[in-house]
């Protein structure tokens, strides 16, 4: 069979709704099958497996959770999420022995510093972009955070 014909057949099957196709010419039998269930064959495997970055083992400041009742009462639209602008490690205080910038229940204004996220030798202070009250701190001190990961819930009512 002409290789070009074979290519054409494959392309035709590829672009159609047909999942299985076979043709016989003399003693040559060609079977083209689109196994749609076996999608894994076509997915790319990431060549590099990233694991979690180094984490400070002694988390000095424990995460403070607000009572869950309080959260349920809030409607979602009143709660503003502050997200991390960078990948790095989340710190609630300016230094290991210092007090946290904010606690649950604190009233804050636009520009209040909430935390630091560090990556490489870059310390990024995250300021609140709204006025409100801290309802929940979503990440534990000294743990890694991803880009765009929510860090704080702020009630803006």
């Amino acid at each position: 069979m002409d290789i070009n014909l074979l290519k054409k057949l494959i392309k035709m099957v590829e672009q159609s709704e047909i999942t299985d196709f076979s043709v016989q010419e003399g003693d040559l039998k060609v079977k083209i099958s689109k196994n749609t269930h076996n999608a894994a064959n076509f997915s790319f495997q990431t060549p590099i497996e990233y694991s979690r970055p180094m984490v400070q083992s002694n988390a000095a400041i424990p995460i403070v959770e607000s009572p869950s009742v309080e959260i349920k009462r809030e409607t979602k639209s009143d709660l503003h999420e502050v997200k991390s602008p960078i990948v790095g490690t989340f710190y609630r205080a300016p230094a290991p022995d210092a007090d946290p910038y904010v606690e649950v229940g604190d009233s804050i204004a636009t520009g209040t510093v909430l935390c630091i996220v560090e990556a490489m030798k870059l310390l990024n202070e995250i300021e609140s972009d709204v006025n409100g009250k801290i309802v929940k701190i979503l990440v534990e001190n000294a743990t890694p955070v991803e880009y765009g990961q929510p860090l704080f819930l702020i009630d803006t009512k």
């Binding site: 970055p53 400070q56 602008p85 960078i86 290991p96 490489m120 030798k121 310390l123």
Partner: protein, 255 residues
């Protein structure tokens, strides 16, 4: 005394250092530029002859004799995309390295993420601080300390320090050095805005630890592996067994 005229003659930038503030003594040039919001000119450079509380990561101190060295910060207030901040981090150390090569032909080595070494000793340290509102970084300061004309460094250090004077065997003009660094930094900054590939490669070429067995120390945790490379965001890729770990911070040294 720092001669501003001599510095100004050599400065060849569009905006970096065009607004120049000279100060005898401050707590920290980084803190002042980051927190005082009335500094609002992009590219402002604040030079202090002495910092009362100059610092590095983890509140480590940066001690520098008054009037002999360079301690300064560069303010960037244009909106900075998240991964660009890491590029600026590497780019700043490259700007210092190039200045030391161009002016004094020193054999410079870069240590991840942004230490500048000569003869395996630390000649410059950089600390970047930024602030973001919502999810955007809106102010970023690049704090650079360079040991210039300090003759000796009594005391104990994690990495032995050195100065240009010790390596070049002569005192040098701080004014000329500062302008050369700022000139380089602006070129790098413009390049990074377009494409980071060249800057990342220039950085790689000066990092002697890529391919070596290293250890990364952070607090009481030690991670051993092979320094594979840096990724496109500037993070260190450490090969531990068959796995690659992405490293965000820590002190890197040869194993």
């Amino acid at each position: 005394m720092f001669n501003i005229e001599e510095f100004d003659i050599k400065l060849d930038t569009d905006f970096i250092g065009r607004n120049f503030i000279y100060s005898d003594e401050v707590d920290s040039t980084n803190s002042l530029l980051l927190t005082k919001k009335d500094f609002n000119i992009d590219g402002t450079v604040l030079l202090a002859e002495f910092q009362r509380s100059g610092r590095g990561r983890k509140n480590r101190t940066w001690i520098s004799n008054a009037g002999q060295n360079l301690t300064f910060s560069i303010l960037l207030i244009n909106e900075i995309k998240e991964n660009k901040a890491n590029h600026i981090n590497l780019g700043a150390s490259l700007a210092v390295a190039q200045a030391l090569e161009n002016l004094y032909q020193l054999n410079v080595e870069l240590k991840w993420p942004n230490d500048v070494l000569v003869s395996k000793k630390k000649i410059s340290g950089i600390l970047i601080e930024s602030s973001s509102k919502g999810s955007k970084i809106n102010r970023l300061v690049v704090g650079i300390g360079i040991n210039v004309n300090q003759p000796n460094f009594p005391g104990k250090f994690e990495i032995q320090p050195t100065s240009i004077r010790k390596e070049f065997k002569s005192t040098v003009s701080r004014e000329k050095l500062l302008s050369e660094i700022l000139n380089n930094f602006e070129i790098i900054y413009y390049q990074l805005k377009k494409n980071a590939t060249k800057i990342l490669n220039d950085w790689r070429n000066r990092c002697k630890l890529i391919g070596e067995k290293i250890k990364i120390v952070e607090e009481d945790k030690i991670l051993n592996g092979v320094f594979e490379d840096i990724d496109e965001d500037g993070f260190l890729l450490l090969k531990v067994g068959n796995k690659i770990e992405k490293i965000y911070f820590g002190d890197v040294s040869l194993r």
